[in-house]
């Protein structure tokens, strides 16, 4: 159904090929999962298979790409190719154009040359299949990450194509969201659709996948039946991260356990009429590594934003190192609590990695600026990249830079919201190794994560939240 023969591609002005000498044949009804480190060429391969590279991008292209036996260049334009292929890109926000779920799906269906009755019928079917019926009047930008992903998938299903290419569709999804998406994809596969899935969550998607393609450095590192491919230990290292070895026995990270670094008393928070947090009590002690887990919308991010006063309590109080955060400035609190957000690209504005790290240090007026930066670069394993433009770095390197920017401000507590989003197994482990080392150096580490493996294997204490409340707090050491 899709065939790539020794396909290579180099972006305009790039010195190296993004993908090189790729040969791949995908049969009708097959599900192919493409995985590998960021920068390996996964998305470029997806764009090539969709015919988008051929029609919309400049640069140097070699080797034919065929869809249903016809070279993609023989299709007059992308619109005519879209009768065969639908693609879901990795940024759902950029693919939502209209102001309600209903409009978004109907607008895509209306352009497929269907009768009015057929449009209505397919609209109802898609709503049901993607579980969006109850949200049909909601503006897309008010949906959660998982709901947005489902909506983008719904609009792609509205294109009524036999081939679906999905680029990291579960990146922002929690366990329930990922399971829901998996069920939808299983259903589509049963209907005979061909699915190309660019993903990192191999374990979760295992039952769907017929062929696993592991990419590295623009080339196919391994291809075949999943069990066969992950039989190679080096490939397994990329596909399935193992965090267990990060917990080093014999190293004690706990500081003075009698005095909490953060104390939360009766904290509640409401957005308009929505109660996001409900009477939270919590103490966090020096040197702890805490993972907050829970479904999207359970209140995890709302809670951590109170630790540096980005949000003010509707009721209750938050104490950081014994000081009430009410009335304190965020800049003042950032000396004690560093916050790394989910998307590192929300931070970067400087011309070099070095200058980017310097920003926080200068804001706080810290002495020994250059020594701190050099030390931080080494800790974040970014010394070779110090003169590069931050946005040129891979996703994994950008995440490490985001951590370095905060680390350089020398806070006692480092809070990270979903630090492994969009990272492959190796990069996730690299980030976790840095955080674990920081914990052993005496920092208190707090992360929000959807990864069960990270929570179980890396964190000392796991706090589960649901509907704005803490429903379990395990692994807390006795005081």
């Amino acid at each position: 159904m899709i065939g790539l023969e020794s396909v290579s591609y180099r972006f305009p002005r790039a010195e190296t090929y993004a993908i090189q000498d790729l040969t791949l044949h995908i049969n009708r009804g097959e599900c192919v999962m493409i995985t590998g480190p960021s920068g390996a060429g996964k998305t470029t391969l997806g764009l090539a298979a969709a015919g988008i590279l051929a029609h919309e991008y400049g640069g140097k292209k070699e080797g034919p790409v065929r869809i249903n036996g016809k070279d993609v260049m023989d299709y007059p334009d992308l619109s005519s190719l879209s009768a065969q292929i639908g693609m879901v890109f990795d940024d759902p926000e950029a693919q939502l154009i209209f102001t309600s779920v209903e409009e978004e799906i109907l607008s895509a269906l209306e352009r497929r040359g269907l009768s009015a009755d057929d449009v209505e019928f397919r609209y109802r079917t898609i709503l049901e299949m993607t579980h969006l019926a109850s949200l049909k009047d909601r503006p897309p930008h008010t949906l959660s990450g998982g709901q947005k992903q489902r909506l983008v998938l719904a609009t792609t299903l509205a294109l009524t194509t036999d081939i679906l290419i999905l680029d990291e569709p579960t990146a922002e999804l929690d366990e329930t969201g990922t399971t829901a998406l998996l069920e939808i994809l299983k259903n589509l596969k049963k209907q005979g659709r061909t699915i190309i899935l660019i993903e990192h969550k191999f374990r979760k998607m295992r039952e769907l996948v017929d062929t696993l393609v592991v990419m590295e450095g623009g080339k196919i590192r391994a291809i075949g039946a999943p069990d066969e491919v992950i039989g190679d230990p080096q490939v397994q290292d990329i596909v399935i991260p193992d965090f267990k070895e990060l917990n080093q026995t014999g190293r004690n990270a706990l500081g003075d356990v009698r005095v909490p670094v953060i104390t939360v008393n009766g904290l509640s928070h409401s957005y308009d009429r929505i109660h996001a947090l409900n009477n939270i009590d919590l103490s966090i002690y020096p040197g702890e590594f805490i993972a907050f887990v829970g479904e999207n919308g359970s209140g995890k991010t709302t809670l951590i934003k109170h630790f540096n006063e980005l949000l003010h309590p509707t009721a209750g109080e938050v104490m950081v190192l014994g000081k009430d955060t009410r009335g304190m400035f965020i800049a003042e609190l950032s000396r004690d609590v560093g916050m790394v957000f989910q998307n590192p690209d929300h931070m970067f504005f400087a011309d070099t990695v070095y200058e980017e790290i310097a920003f926080g240090i200068e804001n706080l007026g810290l002495e020994n600026r250059d020594a701190i930066i050099e030390h931080t670069l080494a800790d974040a394993r970014l010394l070779p990249a110090k003169d590069l433009y931050p946005r040129w770095l891979s996703r994994g390197e950008r995440q490490r830079l985001a951590i370095a920017c905060v680390l350089a401000m020398q806070p006692k507590v480092i809070v990270l919201d979903e630090p492994t989003t969009g990272l492959d197994g190796r990069e996730s482990r690299e980030v976790m190794a840095i955080l674990k080392e920081l914990q052993y150096q005496g920092h208190t580490i707090i992360i929000v994560t959807h990864s069960k493996e990270i929570a179980a294997d890396v964190a000392d204490r796991v706090i589960t939240m649901d509907h704005g409340k803490i429903v379990s707090d395990t692994g807390r050491r006795s005081r």
């Binding site: 992308l78 950029a94 409009e103 540096n308 916050m339 706080l364 401000m409």
Partner: protein, 264 residues
């Protein structure tokens, strides 16, 4: 966070009107506000718009923009006073008591009134367009503009610009939070504030540009620009549309008649 120029689901008179009627409404209001220099008439149009907003259950959204309109009005009056002095002097921008420069930058009656007219025009236009946009589904807007033979590229540009206002608002807030957590200080004084905008504006623009590529591909893949549309059951003109249309024709005739009589 209040959202600017986004469709809101309500059940009011504006939501019941056909998109074509609302386009006519914006045109009539725009013509009146641009052609008149009568402050009482502009105040009357403004009052009518506010009443219509209240009847259309859209007053909260309109009043949500009060600060922006008030701020722009002050700037416009200030600019008119400084750059277009005309007629008798009624005061000065710099109070007499200020040593050396006291009494400079005179406020003239003509300049002040011109500023007031510009501010009222601005308020009328902003409110009229906002009533139209927040009561019209983008899909209805696209369909109507298609029927009016507006090129689809222009229509999509307009709709996407509206849609991405809220995205940029949210994105800007996230970027500001990320920079505040790095000890970012929004700065003081005009120069300082402009200088300190860089950590916010650079990521905002860079992220928006990286999204533009995906957005363009999405539009092409979905065939908005090239494929024929299936015509679903679409609302036609109803009783309210005919009433509103007749009223707008009467108002327009009356306005132009008054304008001609004055000219004669």
């Amino acid at each position: 966070m209040s959202e600017i120029l986004q469709f809101v689901q309500k059940d009011g008179i504006f939501h019941r009107l056909n998109t074509l009627t609302k386009i006519l409404f914006v045109i009539v209001v725009s013509i009146i506000s641009v052609f008149t220099i009568s402050i009482p008439l502009l105040l009357l149009v403004l009052a009518v718009l506010l009443l219509l907003a209240a009847f259309g259950h859209l007053h909260r959204e309109i009043f949500g923009q009060f600060f922006l309109i008030a701020m722009m009005s002050v700037i416009m009056i200030g600019l008119a006073v400084i750059t277009l002095p005309n007629g008798s002097v009624i005061g000065s921008l710099v109070p007499e008591q200020v040593p050396a420069i006291g009494g400079s930058i005179p406020i003239t009656l003509g300049g002040f009134l011109l500023g007031v007219i510009m501010a009222l025009r601005f308020a009328v236009l902003v409110i009229a367009v906002q009533l139209f946009i927040i009561s019209t589904r983008p899909r209805d807007l696209i369909h109507t503009l298609e029927r009016l033979r507006v090129p689809i590229d222009f229509t999509l540009m307009f709709v996407i610009a509206l849609r991405f206002i809220s995205t940029l608002q949210i994105e800007g807030k996230r970027i500001q939070e990320a920079q505040l957590a790095r000890g970012y200080n929004p700065g003081s004084g005009v120069g300082g504030k402009i200088q300190r905008l860089i950590p916010i504006m650079v990521p905002l623009v860079s992220n928006a540009l990286s999204r533009a590529n995906v957005l363009g591909l999405t539009i092409d893949i979905r065939g908005y620009r090239t494929r024929e549309r299936t015509i679903l059951q679409e609302p036609g003109l109803a009783g309210w549309d005919y009433i509103a249309g007749c009223l707008m024709v009467i108002v327009s005739i009356g306005f132009f008649a008054a304008l001609l009589i004055r000219m004669i």
